[in-house]
């Protein structure tokens, strides 16, 4: 580790006080204070609120009123157990599906001679770029039991009520297809790094290829399966958008949706909602800790330094059928939903009950687009989203860079703790962060509540794990000697950062910025408790319109949002490709 900002050697008693009052100490203190406000305080406020009998009021906490009543109320009766059962069951179905889909696609793309495997490898993660809210809208349009397009089509050939997206299975399916890419990424990395001699050795010992798969390949990639499975499981428990759209019509109630209802519906029950939120937090934190333990034990996945791609498995006659399944699946889960959204966006009236009515081209027009673009709420919330996203990116890139630099490149006391705090939000659902912010900022006497700033701050805490990790990733690739030589050339820290570190880390910083832009442009749950009529963001407007039945408008907005995001992703890929040759 470099010691660019070295601490003085004296370690006598009281030295820590001197250290704390030095410029470095003050700098760290400010950083910690910032993160405390951003991440820790909201969680503490939420926990405190869950023990209080009354809703939050400005700094007026009645400490004598601490009570367990909220928990008692939440846990008594069958209510909580039913919520837990539905939430866990859907998450389990989704995780199992995601594991099956993600692992098979990874294996197909990396270890077999399926035609077009390189293309398959790169498009397999496309579903990750479909925002969950948009995916939920699309599958509602496609597969709702009565008016879903798929059901109408099947009914015309005599099959009644074929698919029901409002069921546990249906929601688990939507979960699975949009979270399979996470599994794919983990498993593909493990398969790519896989040393093929392990398998070859087993074959030389006389094992059949079937036996070899079960006894060698699977155990070796099982850590990747386990940790990606746990990650997906946590993300699915935390998810709000899909359960809110697809759960309620089928009378399936999820914890996250219930929290939203408790706060949003009159009479608001913020304290009970907080108790439910804390219970949810306990579940997610436990699972995340579990995941870290699994990740920590991953060491036996061997990396062969030769950089050889493992031998591919010849599929024989199954080559083309499997290619058909693989590519067909991606088209099915990415293109079909957008086709449905486009269809709805172009259609004048939404009353169709037969295939004939669906195919009526006279019903198609661009009116909905004109309507959406001229709607003041849509326009205002688009601009709000843009402002929030840009604000998040501007502050986030500086903040996350500072944290990543301190953690990776200095020997400042407390940098480990800094690292831990910034990854905490992995275990905090966006909805819960939002609720925590509600508690904190309503009781603090600053006029932030009701402005876009509170949404920006909540996003900054919610996205800190992704942001810091992306920038750290590019910092660790820079040889510390590149910085040290600058220092010895006489350049101070600021000059070195400006002329050496930032230019070299720029591709990473830039992709972190675009990632932040994407995440904050599409975020729904975190903003759910933090907006007012003037600070509504785009996703919220979509969600709101959907609840009010303006399906056409929602479809147009979903297309617009996806278009904006797609442009950003393409931009990110371009920049990455252009700038990476620098990194050695």
């Amino acid at each position: 580790m470099t010691a660019l900002v070295a601490s003085p050697g004296a370690r006598s008693r009281g030295a820590w006080l001197v250290a704390a009052l030095s410029p470095r100490g003050l700098f760290m203190a400010v950083l910690f204070a910032g993160l405390f406000f951003l991440i820790v305080l909201p969680v503490l406020a939420l926990v405190l609120g869950s023990f209080l009998p009354v809703p939050p009021r400005a700094l007026a906490i009645d400490w004598s009123g601490l009570t367990l009543a909220n928990y008692r109320e939440t846990l008594s009766g069958g209510g909580f157990l039913a919520l837990l059962r539905v939430t866990l069951a859907a998450a389990m179905i989704g995780t199992a599906g995601a594991l099956a889909i993600g692992a098979s696609l990874a294996w197909l793309a990396i270890r077999t001679n399926v035609p077009g495997r390189h293309l398959l490898e790169s498009i397999a993660i496309l579903p990750m770029f479909v925002p969950p809210l948009v995916g939920a809208f699309a599958w509602d349009i496609l597969a709702s039991p009565r008016s879903g397009i798929i059901n109408i089509a099947l009914r015309s050939i005599g099959i009644e009520k074929a698919v029901n997206i409002y069921s546990l299975g249906g929601i688990g399916f939507v979960f699975a297809i949009y979270y399979a890419p996470y599994v794919h990424l983990f498993v593909a990395a493990a398969l790519r790094n896989f040393d093929p001699t392990h398998e070859e050795a087993a074959r030389m010992c006389g094992a059949s290829s079937w036996r070899c798969f079960w006894q060698i390949t699977l155990p070796l990639i099982s850590p990747a399966l386990l940790s990606s499975g746990l990650l997906v499981f946590v993300l699915l428990i935390e998810l709000f958008a899909i359960p809110a759209i697809l759960g309620e019509p089928g009378n399936l109630h999820f914890i996250s949706v219930r929290i939203w209802e408790m706060v949003g519906f009159t009479p608001p029950k913020v304290n009970q909602a907080s108790a439910l939120g804390v219970l949810m937090l306990v579940i997610t934190v436990t699972l995340v800790l579990l995941q870290y333990r699994v990740l920590g034990k991953r060491s036996f996945v061997t990396v062969s330094g030769k950089g050889l791609r493992p031998d591919v498995v010849a599929l024989g006659g199954a080559r083309w059928p499997l290619a058909f399944v693989g590519f067909g699946y991606i088209l099915f889960v990415v293109l079909l939903p957008y086709a449905a959204l486009l269809f709805i966006a172009l259609r004048k009236n939404l009353f169709y009950a037969t295939l004939g009515a669906l195919a009526d081209t006279r019903q198609l027009s661009l009116d909905q687009f004109a309507l959406a673009f001229s709607d003041p709420v849509v326009r205002a919330s688009f601009l709000n989203s843009l402002a929030v996203s840009l604000g998040t990116v501007a502050i986030g890139s500086v903040l996350y860079f500072t944290i990543a630099y301190v953690v990776q490149r200095t020997s400042l006391a407390g940098r480990r703790a800094l690292d831990v705090i910034t990854i905490l939000p992995v275990a905090i659902p966006g909805l819960i962060i939002g609720l925590g912010y509600l508690w904190t900022w309503i009781s603090l006497p600053f006029g932030i509540y009701g402005t876009l700033w509170i949404i920006i701050l909540a996003y900054l805490s919610q996205f800190s794990p992704q942001g810091v990790r992306a920038i750290s990733g590019s910092l660790v690739q820079i040889d510390p000697e590149l910085e040290e030589s600058s220092r010895l050339c006489g350049a101070g820290l600021a000059y070195t950062l400006r002329r050496i570190v930032v230019p070299l880390a720029w591709p990473g910083i830039l992709s972190a910025m675009i990632l932040l832009l994407i995440l904050s442009f599409r975020e729904l749950a975190t903003a759910l408790f933090l907006y007012t009529s003037t600070t509504q963001v785009f996703s919220l407007t979509m969600f709101d319109f959907w609840l009010r039945g303006s399906t056409n408008l929602v479809a147009v907005m979903a297309l617009v949002q996806t278009l904006v995001l797609a442009i950003l992703v393409l931009l990110a890929r371009r920049i990455r490709r252009e700038r990476t040759p620098f990194i050695t």
């Binding site: 050697g9 000697e481 040290e484 030589s485 600058s486 010895l488 006489g490």
Partner: protein
């Protein structure tokens, strides 16, 4: 160079390191290291991998902070653990060449070399002038606008050197600058480096684990072993008068065998009986006493082989076990009192026959006795 040090006595040494200590966790990686370097001296820090050479250099550069001890440059303290004084690396006016060269890939050759001058806000004309002179000096004239990312290892090495020299630093540090190059290039750059240092007269500290490099470049060598300085001296001093078995082994491929002092012959000579039963006379530094357990160091090229059997002192009966003819010299393994000994005979005459008896002469002034516990550092 000990003489040179005396000559500059009135003036403060260019670089002083006093009782430097650095710990990582509870492990002391550098422990109580002290040395002084005079103006214009080229000092090599030599030791096996992991002994703390780089860490020592980084403490001098200010890239790491010591847990104990002081560093003085030109008589002024730049780091003092006791008082908490720590001058940041960019204020120390030290040039450094790194093992990885640390050439910035987003700048071309010119900008890399110009960087220290730009930091110091020099005018464009001056920068151009000095960078071009420097590039010419290291043999890169005309390559100024090449992208740094396309350079070969040897060229990067030269750019790194030019960058370290361009701002006239008071001290130049090298951390294994040649270890990433192939053997031929390494030998050539070694010569160039020595020549360049002679011309610029820059005080330099050079870290390496390669003893051939150390012996060729150094005015003085500081030998380190697990975080401590075990001996300091000119190359020939280390070669002739190693203070410990470790130094003898590290600096040369000498024969070393354990034994016991039989009797002191004179103030600097004693007779020794080795564990394998050889008896011989050898020199010592005056501190040994009869009965001491010691090691005896004999360099292969100090031994003489002859066919006759003169009754001269220091002669012993031996037998040739094997031989390796090497053109300008021949190396023999001889059997002396039941144990092998390596001998090198210079010249290209026909080698002695295998299995033949020979007379082995080990001049007493060339065989060296070292005490078993002599690890103390010697002052220059």
């Amino acid at each position: 160079m000990a003489v040179a040090c005396q000559a500059f006595e009135s003036q403060a040494p260019k670089c002083q390191v006093e009782a430097l200590t650095k710990r990582y966790g509870t492990r002391a990686v550098v422990e109580n290291v002290s040395f002084e370097i005079a103006e214009g001296e080229f000092v090599v820090v030599l030791g096996p991998s992991g002994c703390g050479k780089s860490t020592t250099l980084r403490l001098v550069a200010g890239l790491a902070a010591a847990d104990g001890g002081r560093v003085l440059l030109g008589g002024k303290a730049v780091s003092d653990a006791a008082s908490g004084l720590f001058v940041r690396p960019e204020r120390r006016d030290i040039g450094m060449v790194f093992q990885s060269y640390a050439i910035w890939p987003h700048m071309d050759v010119f900008e890399n070399v110009a960087y220290p001058l730009r930091v110091r806000k020099r005018g464009n004309a001056e920068i151009k002038q000095r960078v071009e002179n420097m590039l010419a000096l290291v043999g890169l004239a005309g390559e100024a606008r090449r992208s740094a990312a396309q350079l070969s290892g040897g060229q990067m090495q030269r750019v790194a050197l030019a960058r370290a020299l361009v701002f006239d630093p008071t001290l130049l540090l090298f951390d294994e600058p040649l270890s990433n190059l192939d053997l031929k290039l390494r030998e050539r750059l070694r010569l160039e480096l020595k020549e360049l240092q002679r011309r610029t007269g820059l005080t330099s500290i050079y870290v390496t684990h390669d003893q051939a490099e150390a012996v060729e470049l150094a005015d003085r060598i500081i030998v380190m072993e697990s975080g401590r300085v075990v001996q300091v001296g000119a190359p020939h001093e280390l070669y002739r008068r190693p203070l410990s078995r470790f130094v003898a082994q590290f600096i040369s491929s000498a024969n070393i065998f354990p034994g016991r002092v039989l009797a002191r012959i004179s103030d600097d000579c004693a007779s020794v009986r080795t564990e394998t039963g050889r008896e011989l006379a050898a020199t010592h530094d005056g501190s040994v006493a009869t009965g001491d357990l010691v090691d005896v160091v004999i360099h292969p090229e100090d031994c003489l082989l002859g066919e006759r059997a003169p009754e001269a002192p220091d002669s012993h009966h031996a037998r040739i076990v094997s031989r390796r003819y090497q053109g300008t010299s021949t190396r023999y393994t001889v059997d002396w009192a039941g144990a092998p000994l390596e001998v090198a005979a210079l010249g290209s005459e026909a080698p002695l026959a295998q299995d033949s008896p020979v007379v082995l002469t080990v001049p007493r002034e060339r065989a060296r006795i070292i005490g078993r516990s002599a690890i103390a550092a010697s002052a220059p």
